[in-house]
Symmetry: C2
């Protein structure tokens, strides 16, 4: 039957039912602008990650501001974006198995589709699927530059894969994927700078090796919200692929910038709105947002602009607020905003964004209701 | 557009696309039967929790085997069950706010609806909503018997609420909700037995107090998969409300029974099926199931029937398998089953159950595809 939206346009924020996923539209637009400006200033192509927002509406906003297309992680995500008319998608991930590759190749008949690979057999399967669909696919070799997840080692292994791709009639060698996921959340600027410098050196050597062998890289991509400034000045990448910058989250706010202050290049723009549903004493206030409303894999949600309040002991449908002596424990029925610990998996729990204008003063009102169209796009 | 199902009926398991949420139908039916038999043997009413499965199809299976109705935690969950014809629902949770109460009261025009309360103002709001909808609601007083979440203290506080409910023309005093969530996951039998004994004593005293005041409890409910055997013999509760027993999970399997062995009253019946999508060395195999496919709030997923294999370092769309010397690291493209750490929030990430028969031998085949109709029912 489809889940009902928790709000309608024109409502005051405090009438929105909870839990609800709120976008502060002012902060969101500021974040969009800051990243677009940064990419332009550094001469980088910007291909934001659709895995964060799963929304063709937000993807359009990014493309209108200069993004060259979107990344996604799953074929079913790509299907949602292509169906909405977004026609340049990189699946920045390995796609393994005949069923997935058949779907992917079908998309490539109507959109420009790239995919990552780190295995020769898989590249042959991609070519087979492209042939059967009478489609052309761009294949990018993923190298492991420190994340210890997917990707072949830089150097000769990457060359072997690139050569295999280039020999195919239906595949185009698209370049290198050099994403260092683990570096995004290293807390100090020095740690991140060190990790990205080493990653950039390995990537540079691989690019040079490929070029010597007549395999120039159209795309040398990677980077996320935590490190894009480093990759943008490394002189190696030509495409950055950040996702979380549009929303920020409590985990990214625990990163420190070069001056040692909290990483605040982007503003908090995503919140889980929640109601105090039980308040039987002065020790705790129970809210109606638990594991099914806000992801805790990267730490707890943080009450927004409520000093002294702490969110603890989440269970499936509940969380507990406690309060230091400095703050005020909210009353039954009060609604508060939580900054989620981790934005991507939190978005994936909701069916609707509720876009609000005027959160920084006055009576905030609902201005937009956007479906999270690719929520649950798992395969 | 709605997410496509990862399988169709008749498929062999290894053709199912991944990640997918698999039910082993044989184990599931055994679990259904074991709980129905246990409730019958102990003379307890069984009202299983729909928050676990979010599926009217599974709810029907439970009712066909003797359950008196279902519990759920959210009004939008209740809407899904009532729309599917399940006509006896207890929202085993506080429902706060006019919008939610209006929806709840509307449901009570066509189904028997109960709701928990732990606040006098909230009870007045429930009555107001019932009056406006020209409906009757059963209200159950929740007492805090050790979970330190919702609920008033046992004794006089509960009496005050019960009296307020009984005085209303549109509300029925339904009894007591005495659920001890924290006890479910205490690891030793002795800890659980101690917690439930203390909870039962407090509940018993409150029931007796209410009876003396002319307020008999129709329902004295609570209990979960980890403690229902204790509550069933405590002589205080008359209704048990377990959820996870149908599926089990890795967290419940960490509980010990009275003999000190792993809690195995129920069989693992729920799995996340996942493909090895990257295998660049002999140290790790990367699977396509991360935070968006399996919840890790209560610990990691565990590879099923794959001794030596361990699931580690989940990120949004990836997990890493490592292998001790005893086991075998799977190859690229292989598919394996994971027992999720925590079943309820894992179910809530998927749109479809893929029911499989024959997992214990031969060629397992897909026999059922069930929508997770109340997935994402948040408010």
């Amino acid at each position: 039957m489809g889940m009902p939206a928790p709000a309608h346009i024109g409502m005051a924020l405090n009438e929105v039912d909870t839990p609800a996923l709120i976008i502060d539209l002012d902060s969101y637009e500021g974040n969009l602008r800051r990243m677009a400006d940064a990419a332009k200033a550094s001469g980088m192509r910007l291909r934001p990650h659709g895995k964060t927002h799963k929304s063709p509406i937000i993807g359009r906003h990014q493309i209108e501001r200069g993004a060259v297309g979107l990344c996604c992680q799953k074929v079913t995500e790509a299907e949602v974006f292509v169906a909405a008319g977004i026609d340049d998608i990189l699946v920045s991930n390995e796609v393994v198995g005949a069923a997935k590759l058949e779907r992917l190749a079908r998309l490539a008949r109507t959109a420009r589709i790239g995919v990552c690979a780190d295995n020769i057999e898989n590249i042959r399967d991609i070519a087979l699927a492209a042939e059967r669909a009478d489609a052309r696919l761009s294949v990018i070799v993923e190298i492991d530059i420190g994340g210890r997840r997917c990707g072949v080692p830089p150097g000769e292994s990457a060359l072997r894969l690139a050569t295999t791709i280039a020999q195919s009639n239906v595949l185009q060698f698209g370049g290198l994927q050099a994403y260092h996921g683990a570096a995004q959340h290293m807390r100090t600027h020095a740690e991140r700078a060190d990790a990205i410098a080493r990653a950039a050196a390995q990537t540079y050597e691989t690019v040079a090796l490929l070029e010597r062998e007549g395999l120039p890289c159209v795309t040398i991509g990677g980077a996320g919200t935590g490190t894009f400034e480093l990759e943008s000045t490394s002189g190696v990448l030509n495409e950055i692929q950040p996702g979380s910058y549009i929303f920020m989250d409590a985990d990214y706010a625990r990163n420190r910038n070069a001056a040692g202050d909290a990483f605040d290049t982007f503003a908090f723009a995503l919140f889980v709105y929640t109601t105090i549903m039980s308040r039987t004493d002065d020790e705790r206030a129970v809210v109606d947002a638990g594991h099914k409303a806000a992801a805790v894999d990267s730490g707890m949600s943080v009450p927004f602009n409520r000093p002294g309040l702490e969110y603890q002991r989440p269970s499936d449908e509940h969380g507990v607020l406690v309060c230091g002596s400095a703050g005020r424990l909210p009353e039954l029925g009060e609604k508060i905003l939580l900054v989620p610990g981790h934005c991507d998996p939190t978005v994936n729990l909701h069916d609707w964004y509720v876009g609000v204008r005027g959160l920084d003063g006055g009576t905030p009102r609902v201005e937009a209701i956007w479906p999270i169209t690719a929520r649950g796009a798992l395969f």
